[in-house]
């Protein structure tokens, strides 16, 4: 995002950096252009995400103990949590689609938490990444709705509970809100992750002010406390945004399976 140059203003402010610098996609080896198959920091952190998931869900449960070990019970808790969510929100007949929703949740939650490590790259902070996931959900749900219900899926937009003169207006609003879904679905996750990490970096830019003058005696401790507090908030947000993404997927799935209001 921040591609333009933004050097230090003066000698004393050498430490100033741009809060959006952390989101720059750059090649891992060398300084060449980022092409289709360049190995970038995004590739690295997505790979680490997959490795962490494999470590928890495949290696962690490989023991198949009746009395689960600590790591196995974490994997079982995650499984049970998402399964219950799908069942509660989307209904029992949505359970065949549970693996997809579980995949989405686990990937997002691991990407969010790995992004919180210092010096890490948050893959979910890029709209390109979240938009792919949201578009896949949108296409899946739309195709599924038409396959399961045929033209009856369109009754999602024709609200028979409303008075007849209102229905065309409501249908228009419903159609607009239906097509806006992938936009809000993707930008909610990307925006939350990007904003949180940018805020941390903004406070981090104030932290070294103790080096440039007496004002830093007040500003530096305050900004370090603020970084800590916002980091704690971000740990919460990382989980909640993954949860919200997943639960909205369940809601959209419910609309596709039962379009009648």
């Amino acid at each position: 995002m921040a591609t333009e140059a933004h050097g230090a203003e003066g000698g004393a402010l050498e430490l100033v950096f741009h809060p959006m610098d952390q989101f720059i996609v750059k090649p891992l080896f060398g300084d060449g252009q980022v092409g289709m198959f360049t190995i970038t920091n995004v590739t690295l952190w997505m790979g680490l995400t997959i490795l962490a998931i494999v470590g928890l869900l495949v290696l962690g449960t490989s023991g198949r103990a009746t009395i689960p070990s600590r790591i196995q019970s974490i994997a079982e808790l995650a499984y049970g949590f998402i399964r219950k969510m799908v069942e509660d929100v989307a209904g029992k007949d949505a359970l065949p689609y549970f693996p997809y929703i579980m995949t989405l949740f686990i990937f997002i939650v691991f990407a969010n938490f790995l992004g919180l490590l210092p010096m890490a790259f948050t893959t979910t902070s890029h709209i390109a990444v979240t938009a792919v996931m949201a578009m896949m959900v949108f296409l899946t749900v739309t195709i599924l709705g038409f396959v399961k219900n045929g033209a009856g899926f369109l009754s999602l937009f024709w609200i028979s509970a409303a008075p007849l003169p209102l229905r065309p207006i409501l249908a228009l609003i419903e159609i607009i809100s239906y097509f806006v879904r992938p936009v809000s679905h993707s930008i909610r996750l990307a925006g939350n992750m990007m904003a949180g990490h940018a805020v941390i970096k903004v406070f981090a830019a104030f932290a070294p002010m103790i080096l440039i003058g007496w004002i830093g005696v007040i500003v530096t401790p305050l900004s370090i406390i603020a970084i800590t507090a916002i980091y704690a908030l971000e740990v919460l947000v990382a989980f909640i945004q993954a949860y919200v993404f997943t639960i909205l997927t369940c809601v959209y799935l419910k609309d596709a399976l039962h379009p009648h209001h």
């Binding site: 929100v89 909610r188 925006g191 949860y243 919200v244 639960i247 909205l248």
Partner: protein, 78 residues
Amino acid sequence: MEGDVVQMGAYIGAGLACTGMGGAAVGVGHVVGNFLSGALRNPSAAGGQTATMFIGIAFSEALGIFSFLVALLLMFAV
């Protein structure tokens, strides 16, 4: 000169778009506040409605996100 004025307008607009955050904040606060006041009246029913609360938060937050989207478009697309 004209380009500078357009640029200035885009930046001012991007800043103004941030006021949309306030609306989203009011909406989310309203959802959670009402959930809490209901939950304290009937705590036994609260557990089953947490998912509904998060859906409500997500929907009211979506409109705040559109202001963020407008700010992004003004900053990088205009």
